[in-house]
């Protein structure tokens, strides 16, 4: 059975506009409906694994019409987005009872999901931008959802910086349209192959890298993230850190660089530099934080660095006409880390939400000794921490190991060293979480703390099991070929993208 691609966008978009009509009384119905949407999207995403499809909207043939493209990379991202969305939505059922206007929250949530699904499916660059704006605007609103002073400030900062990124991207799109006369990515790619890069296109590429780099929160474009991600309600933090920065930032960056413009040595080095900077700066800022969610947010910057590093090494090898297998391995490391990060980071944010809901605070210094009070939160948080710190046999270990082996193989021993050292600092900062939140002396005022049960627990346990089992994505032969390998192949194929999508070109 083949799922019509527009469903990924249309279903959440339509339901998002229906939900606010339920008002305060229909809150329960609205919640159930929203959950049904996210869960069915997850089912769609699983069903679309391993397929390559081009859907022409309204049967208008490209380049006149708009097309949606599903390939290995898109389906990997779709899977990540919808897994995290389903878990975060499940978590929201109880968690969002603390806030007023739950239906508006649900509606914004679905808008964001629709935007992200649109970004990864869109086959032309202007629609990518439109969906990116839908997701971004929804996220600006969601960051400020609590309407406290700090949240509004964070939202404002995020909006200003995010809009600047959008301007960069839009400007770059205009340059591309001016130079190639088309907005369809396959056609752009073909045009660039035929006539080569001119100054305008190169400038556009640089604008894209800065714009998507900001969406992906790479250092030095990261400054909005540590304010925005902790301010949002926990499930939204999970969505933002878990998938938004990847779908809007990393995915778009990878698609544009590898499939549209083609890799070059300079781009490879820029990516590696951005990756290393993000890894190092992010992790050292994280380890000094005393706010639970802020610490996690800085780690998102650092972990995005790993992904970009993998892509950068791959791009550099491809640009130097090195061994494609080595490039593939580096990209595999990056892509695998991307999906792993989606799972463990969203789980970490959910557990931070659970701790905050039970205790009313997220300051590490005010917490302590919760291991016995919150056994499930602790267990799931520990699993996620072990994953992000790269402790075997959890998923983070495998992706980091592949990344390190790939960089050693490509001759970058110093990159391997940086990766390992950053991983160590990551470990130390999660030991800090364990030490101050779950171990040690239980403060007097937290004696009555109760564990969160029900849907919140299900969401956390679901993600924790994924953390444990996702190693099989590379270890089990069948799974590897159907999920990760196609995604890597899309990127290593590079400019053949256009020929794969539109054979007649």
């Amino acid at each position: 059975m083949s799922i019509p691609l527009p469903l990924f966008i249309a279903v959440p978009l339509i339901i998002a506009f229906v939900l606010p009509m339920f008002g305060r009384k229909g809150k329960a119905v609205a919640t159930a409906l929203a959950n049904m949407v996210t869960i069915s999207l997850l089912v769609f995403a699983v069903a679309s694994i391993g397929k390559t499809e081009v859907y022409e909207i309204g049967k208008w043939s490209i380049p006149l019409g708009i097309n949606l493209v599903l390939d290995g990379l898109s389906s990997l991202l779709l899977l990540a987005i919808n897994v995290v969305a389903a878990a975060a939505m499940l978590f929201s059922i109880k968690y969002m009872e603390q806030y007023t206007a739950k239906t508006k929250y649900l509606s914004l949530f679905l808008l964001m999901v629709a935007g992200m699904n649109g970004v990864v499916l869109s086959g032309d660059i202007f629609n990518l931008f439109v969906f990116l704006e839908i997701a971004s605007l929804a996220s600006y609103a969601l960051v400020g959802f609590g309407c406290d002073h700090e949240e509004l400030e964070a939202s404002f900062k995020y909006m200003v910086l995010g809009s600047i990124a959008s301007v960069f991207i839009l400007f770059a799109i205009a340059l591309i349209y001016g130079n190639t006369g088309t907005l369809n990515m396959a056609y752009i790619s073909k045009a660039i192959q035929n006539s080569g890069l001119n100054a305008g296109l190169t400038f556009a590429l640089a604008m894209f890298m800065a714009g998507f780099g900001l969406k992906a929160a790479l250092v030095p474009f990261h400054a909005w993230l540590p304010d925005a991600h902790p301010s949002a309600p926990a499930p939204i933090s999970a969505m933002l850190s878990g998938v938004l920065i990847k779908a809007l930032g990393v995915y778009s960056l990878a698609r544009i660089i590898f499939n549209v413009f083609g890799v070059s040595v300079a781009v490879g080095w820029v990516l590696i530099t951005l990756g290393v900077l993000s890894m190092v700066v992010g992790v050292f800022l994280a380890v000094g934080q005393w706010d639970f969610k802020r610490l996690l947010a800085y780690h998102s910057i650092s972990q995005m660095g790993y992904v970009i590093l993998g892509l950068g090494i791959g791009a550099l090898i491809l640009a130097n006409n090195g061994k494609v297998e080595w490039a593939a391995m580096a990209i595999l490391g990056g892509m695998f880390h991307l999906v792993n990060h989606a799972v463990f980071k969203s789980l970490l944010f959910l557990t931070s939400g659970s701790v905050e809901m039970s205790t009313g605070t997220r300051q590490l210094k005010e917490l302590g000794g919760l291991a016995e009070k919150l056994p499930f939160t602790r267990a799931t948080c520990t699993v996620a921490s072990a994953s992000i710190a790269g402790i075997p046999p959890f998923n983070g270990f495998w992706s980091k190991m592949i990344l390190v082996i790939a960089s050693v193989q490509a001759g970058f021993l110093w990159l391997a060293a940086v990766t390992v050292i950053v991983s160590l600092v990551t470990l130390i900062s999660f030991l800090k979480i364990q030490r101050y939140v779950f171990l040690g002396e239980l403060p007097e005022n937290l004696r009555q703390t109760k564990e969160n049960k029900g849907f919140m627990l299900i969401a956390m346990v679901f993600l924790a099991c994924l953390c444990l089992l996702m190693g099989s994505l590379v270890l089990v032969p069948g799974l590897k070929e159907s999920i990760l390998e196609p995604a890597v192949k899309v990127l290593t194929d590079g400019l053949n993208y256009s020929a794969n999508i539109i054979p007649k070109l």
Partner: protein
């Protein structure tokens, strides 16, 4: 087929069960106890079978990236080798003894009891994995599993243990990172992860760095200077059985095992600059750690520092590059694990019976806890190198190795052999001195009023202590047996080539026994002659309280710590000036503070970064293309 299953089961049965046990709810306590006990018995039996069964191997493909993804293939290779197999057997034995001990000692105070037993099983399985693995990457994986289980074990030691656990994990984690880098460098140099196929010379910068990285991992796990500081910190707060299992026994076995593998199999280390490094680390560890141990007031901390000091002997033995020295080093590793484990268990028994581990609150327990006293005395004499116990034999072999190195080798570390020998012997004397203090403070001095009702601990706890103490005696008197059975085959040494001196343990044991017998006779004679009148001490009629008449041993060596020169060093050590964890932490926090200062939270600043970043990217991309 059957052989394969043994290897596989002995690694994965404890690992899987232990992992699941971590998540068991706290209410089901007896299940985890029983299960841990059964599995530790099973693995011990399997350990013996593996040792007696001879060489075999088992290969399990784990990760196979096809040709299109770089063609990386990783296989879990479990191979029985003589060295690993004999250490495995003893490690499993320690696992069993500690489990037995824990049945009584861990309970009332430990809230997360399932995590404790789960971590014990993870330790057992991870240790088996390390000792059997012939693939460096999987050795590293098992190595990390043991690190994690140490962390979990320390966290079960009560509310204050969280700092110690964090410190231990951070320091060993750092050495694991070094290990990982070293492994990848070796892979880069030799193209394989399989230990049996690697044979590198230390002639390039890269290989020397790789050697140093692996050495760092080994000595951190074993707890040698300067990366030892996690041992005393965790010693203070961790459950004592956990200390006896990991830092005292298994971590030593593993660290020294890795060092031997690195020195003998992966690299071919010849006497030279690198052995000088090893010798310096070894000698410094012996002397400095024992100097610190002497002035400790806490029983567990004192034992921890001795656990560090003894590692120095093993490293020194290996650094000699002579057969007798290396054999001595390995034998000392085994002996140390036995008596140090026994000492920690005795310490645990004392702590449990009396409720404190502070030396100046203890005293006079010799009569109350006679089994603990006897076993502790044997182990203490053994660690101090008193003949005919096992500690003496292995130290004697190491001294011989050092002398032999000095007389047979030229260059490298050999020229300095008198220094190494002096350090080793001096360290041994100081060890005896500090155990005199320990035995006096706990068992001999006057009994404090508070401890009037102390009773001997349960047989579950005394049996392991007695077993270990008997091993101390047996391995000392009949030292030929373990050497012939375990050590020589493990190292491939011809028994004739490493034979030493004219030490006849049998004769001297008999002489010693005769001497003690004569002493007893004299004592009995004096007692029976009844010419001695025993009366209470005359205090001019003033009533002295029991407490004011006690002389605790904690001040025995106060003069040492007050000596000028040493005094500053001691106080610096107390404040953590020489602790890489503290200093590294400060450096890291400095960097963090700088980065935080950059992140002022002012929007225009952030906008400037974005614009600057864009400009640089434009410049780089446009310029190059």
């Amino acid at each position: 087929m059957k052989e394969m299953n043994i290897l596989y089961i002995s690694v994965f049965l404890p690992l899987i069960v232990g992992f699941l046990m971590l998540f068991l709810p706290n209410k089901i306590k007896s299940v985890s106890r029983a299960l841990t006990f059964i599995i530790s018995v099973v693995t011990f039996v399997l350990g013996i079978k593996i040792f007696t069964g001879g060489e075999s191997d088992y290969i399990l493909p784990i990760l196979q990236l096809g040709e299109s993804l770089g063609g990386l293939e990783l296989e879990l290779m479990l191979t029985v080798k003589p060295l690993g197999a004999f250490i495995l057997m003893f490690a499993m034995g320690f696992g069993l003894l500690i489990t037995l001990y824990s049945l009584k000692s861990v309970g009332a105070n430990t809230k997360r009891i399932n995590e404790y037993y789960g971590a014990i099983l993870l330790t057992i399985g991870g240790t088996a994995g390390i000792l059997l693995s012939d693939h460096l990457l999987f050795l590293l994986v098992f190595w990390e599993i043991v690190t994690v289980s140490l962390y979990i074990l320390i966290t079960t030691g009560g509310n204050k243990s969280n700092f110690a656990a964090t410190k231990s994990f951070a320091m060993i984690g750092a050495s694991d990172a070094a290990f990982m880098l070293g492994v990848f460098m070796i892979w880069k140099l030799s193209g394989t992860f399989v230990i049996s196929n690697i044979d590198l010379a230390t002639n390039s910068t890269l290989s020397i760095i790789a050697f140093l990285l692996l050495m760092t991992a080994a000595i951190t796990k074993a707890g040698a200077l300067p990366l030892h500081t996690w041992v005393p910190t965790s010693g203070e707060y961790a459950p004592v059985s956990a200390m006896a299992l990991l830092p005292a026994a298994i971590d030593k076995l593993l660290g020294i095992y890795l060092l031997v593998i690195v020195v003998r199999e992966i690299f071919d280390i010849q006497p030279g600059a690198l052995t000088v490094v090893l010798s310096i680390i070894g000698s410094a560890t012996i002397v400095i750690a024992v100097m610190v141990a002497m002035v400790q007031h806490n029983l567990k901390k004192l034992l921890s520092y001795h656990a560090i000091s003894q590692v120095g002997y093993m490293i020194l033995g290996i650094a000699t590059c002579t057969p007798v020295g290396i054999a001595g080093g390995i034998f000392h590793m085994l002996n140390n694990a036995i008596y140090k484990c026994c000492l920690f268990l005795c310490g645990g028994a004392v702590e449990q019976a009396s409720g404190t581990a502070e030396l100046d609150k203890l005293g006079g327990l010799g009569n109350k806890m006679s089994i603990t006293f006897t076993t502790c005395l044997i182990a203490a004499l053994s660690i101090s190198g008193i003949p005919p116990l096992n500690g003496f034999v292995s130290k004697w072999m190491i001294y011989q190795g050092v002398i032999k190195m000095g007389t047979q080798q030229t260059g490298g570390t050999a020229g300095f052999w008198p220094i190494w020998l002096t350090c080793a012997m001096f360290g041994s004397a100081l060890t005896l001195a500090s155990f005199v203090k320990l035995i006096h403070s706990i068992f001999l001095s006057r009994l404090p009023d508070k401890l009037k009702d102390v009773k001997e601990v349960s047989p579950f706890m005394t049996v392991p202590m007695v077993v270990l103490a008997s091993l101390c005696v047996f391995f000392g008197v009949f030292y030929h047996v373990p050497l012939k059975l375990f050590i020589y085959p493990a190292l491939g040494i011809e028994p004739g080539s490493a034979i030493f001196g004219t030490w006849m343990s049998g004769l001297s044991t008999i002489l010693l026994i005769i001497g003690i017998g004569l002493g007893l006779l004299i004592w009995l004679f004096a007692k029976l002659s009844k010419n001695v009148r025993i009366v209470p001490t005359w205090t001019c009629g003033e009533v002295q309280s029991n407490e004011s008449m006690r002389i605790p041993g904690t001040h025995f060596y106060k003069t040492v710590s007050r000596m000028s020169g040493l005094k500053q060093l001691y106080s610096g050590q107390e404040k953590g000036y020489f602790d890489p964890y503290d200093q590294g932490g400060k450096a890291g926090l400095g960097l963090t503070a700088f980065l935080k200062w950059l992140h002022s939270g002012v929007l225009p600043v952030y906008l400037t970064w974005v614009v600057l970043g864009l400009l640089i990217i434009i410049f780089v991309i446009c310029k190059v293309q």
